[in-house]
């Protein structure tokens, strides 16, 4: 419960400053950055594991670590997007929305009851829809927010329909009791399909991905980054928990379902990413392809599955946020959002270009970066079921993704047509990018990080 208390305290502090005389934008932002860093560090020291509220709230060592990962991502976002945040006329509203969503995600990761899961899921998604609309003057922002709120409301409805049938067949909402009552009857399979469809919606797995690119393109940059890393990561944590816990006895049924979804997600995500010209849409489709790998890691029903997913999400946060950070900086200072205009960025901004290149290497999974190891662990988990053609098909998709990631790296380092002015990142942005870079390189080389995560289970 410690992590949630800290998030609540920061939330309350921002709210009080908003209601009171208020602080200068930059002071408030620095304060929140500092508090988020402190609470990330504190949450890593471990938490009590007693169940609370009659089993509604469960906390294990892995769940506590996953919450630290989410908090860390929120801290990175507060660092990396300081351009937008400082200039926004709604900084405190933005912070309140993002922090309440973060609070919902923390509760979601440690929920032990379907009612709690639903409540925290809504707490995590409704504020995001409001935050997506924060670029009030831009038409596209409200369009994206509309698409987000409608699709998330619809998917909650589908989720609840699934939950109602789970309740009808097992008579309880408690994870432990349900796990005992799951016998794989056709009704329960049906209920599981509804539940899974709702999660696929929220994680934007194919065929439920249609909202993703529009919402990502329309939202303000920090909100897009938040949706694509924190929101997706927390969904992955919860889904792996459900599949390996509550629905473990049905693994024969969901394995084949997951296999189809993984292949569709990888292929469609990659094919659409190939032809994107807008950097935000490009990152949206690349994140859809990455979700395919997360789901691949869940297919093997082994104790290490959740650890591999957690490690991947940590690496994915570092690499994707670095890419978003550079894109946000370039977009805020020069207005460039289409990929061809990045041509020759390395000439005038070597630091930014190298950061972008490193993060794309990591997203593609090139060996010295951590992205390689993260993907390898997931594929090893998937291979455990013995369907090697399936794993090979997934690996071929890595080769496809290499093409479009490297296309951008080539653009960055080729001769510029129009020169891009030299952009000096703010100190916090520089710090955030450096943390990402160090993390991407070291998290792969220092094997004790993965070892540590795998002992938490």
């Amino acid at each position: 419960m410690k992590t949630e208390w800290m998030v609540m305290a920061i939330l309350l502090a921002v709210l009080l400053f908003r209601l009171g005389r208020g602080l200068a934008q930059s002071t408030l932002l620095s304060l929140v950055q500092l508090l988020l860093l402190l609470s990330t560090a504190l949450s890593l020291t471990g938490d009590s594991t007693t169940p609370l509220f009659g089993g509604m709230y469960l906390n294990g060592p892995l769940a506590a670590f996953q919450k630290s990962v989410l908090l860390f991502a929120a801290w990175m976002i507060s660092l990396l997007f300081s351009d937008w945040q400082r200039e926004s006329s709604h900084l405190s509203e933005y912070l309140i929305l993002l922090l309440s969503s973060l609070l919902g995600m923390c509760f979601m990761v440690s929920s032990g009851n379907l009612l709690m899961l639903y409540l925290s899921l809504e707490l995590a998604t409704i504020p995001m829809a409001a935050a997506a609309n924060l670029d009030l003057g831009r038409k596209r922002s409200s369009e994206g927010a509309m698409k987000l709120i409608l699709s998330s409301a619809f998917s909650s409805g589908v989720l609840l329909f699934g939950i109602s049938w789970v309740y009808g067949t097992t008579g309880s909402l408690d994870f432990g009791v349900i796990a005992k009552g799951i016998d794989g009857s056709p009704l329960q399979t049906l209920a599981f399909m509804f539940l899974f469809a709702a999660f696929a919606f929220k994680m934007s797995a194919v065929p439920f991905h249609l909202w993703t690119a529009d919402v990502y393109q329309g939202s303000p940059m920090p909100v897009t980054a938040y949706l694509s890393v924190v929101s997706k990561g927390s969904m992955a944590f919860v889904l792996v928990n459900l599949l390996h816990g509550m629905f473990r006895s049905m693994s024969g049924a969901w394995y084949h379902l997951l296999m189809v979804v993984v292949l569709a997600t990888l292929v469609v995500g990659n094919l659409f990413a190939l032809r994107q010209q807008d950097i935000k849409r490009f990152l949206a489709f690349s994140s859809i392809a990455q979700v395919g790998f997360i789901l691949l890691g869940m297919t093997g029903v082994r104790p290490l599955g959740p650890s591999a997913v957690t490690y991947f999400v940590l690496i994915y946060i570092l690499s994707n946020l670095a890419a978003f950070g550079v894109a946000a900086l370039v977009s805020a200072r020069t207005g460039i959002e289409d990929i061809p205009s990045y041509k020759g960025l390395a000439k005038s901004n070597p630091f930014l270009a190298w950061m972008m290149a490193l993060s794309l290497f990591s997203l593609a999974g090139i060996p010295p970066t951590a992205g390689f190891f993260a993907k390898m662990f997931l594929i090893v988990e998937g291979a455990w079921q013995g369907d090697y053609w399936f794993v090979v098909a997934a690996a071929i998709n890595i080769a496809v993704s290499l093409y479009y990631y490297m296309r951008i790296v080539r653009l960055l380092f080729s001769e510029p047509e129009k020169s891009i002015p030299t952009l000096v990142p703010a100190p916090s942005e520089r710090l955030g990018l450096l943390v990402c870079a160090v993390g991407m390189v070291l998290a792969g080389l220092l094997s004790w990080i993965y070892d540590h995560i795998s002992t938490l289970n």
Partner: protein
């Protein structure tokens, strides 16, 4: 005419759910789409209450989750309507077809 029982209620629940899904997918007006989502949520409430009443009477889980669903649906509708009003101010319409600035 038999006494209405669990199957009847579940039939109503399922029918309402799919009417809601159909409405959500075919309607072009944002307010109507929102109403369809409310239909989906209400169908779920019927399911929960029916299961609770006929199968699992000893505990009130089904009724409690229904109360929460109603409360959250209201919150969701409030945010959705705020967004739709803002969309109307900038686009002068609440037809989904008009809100297609971004293409795949």
């Amino acid at each position: 005419m038999t006494e209405p029982g669990l199957p009847h209620l579940l039939f109503i629940g399922a029918a309402l759910f799919f009417i809601g899904v159909f409405g959500f997918l075919t309607r072009r007006n944002l307010i109507t789409m929102l109403m369809s989502v409310e239909l989906v949520l209400n169908s779920v409430c019927i399911n929960f209450v029916a299961f609770n009443r006929y199968l699992w009477q000893e505990r009130l889980d089904g009724v409690f989750i229904t109360i929460f669903i109603i409360a959250i649906a209201a919150a969701e509708a409030a945010v959705a309507i705020a967004i739709i009003i803002h969309l109307y101010r900038s686009h002068r319409t609440i037809d989904v077809g008009a809100a297609e600035d971004m293409k795949h």
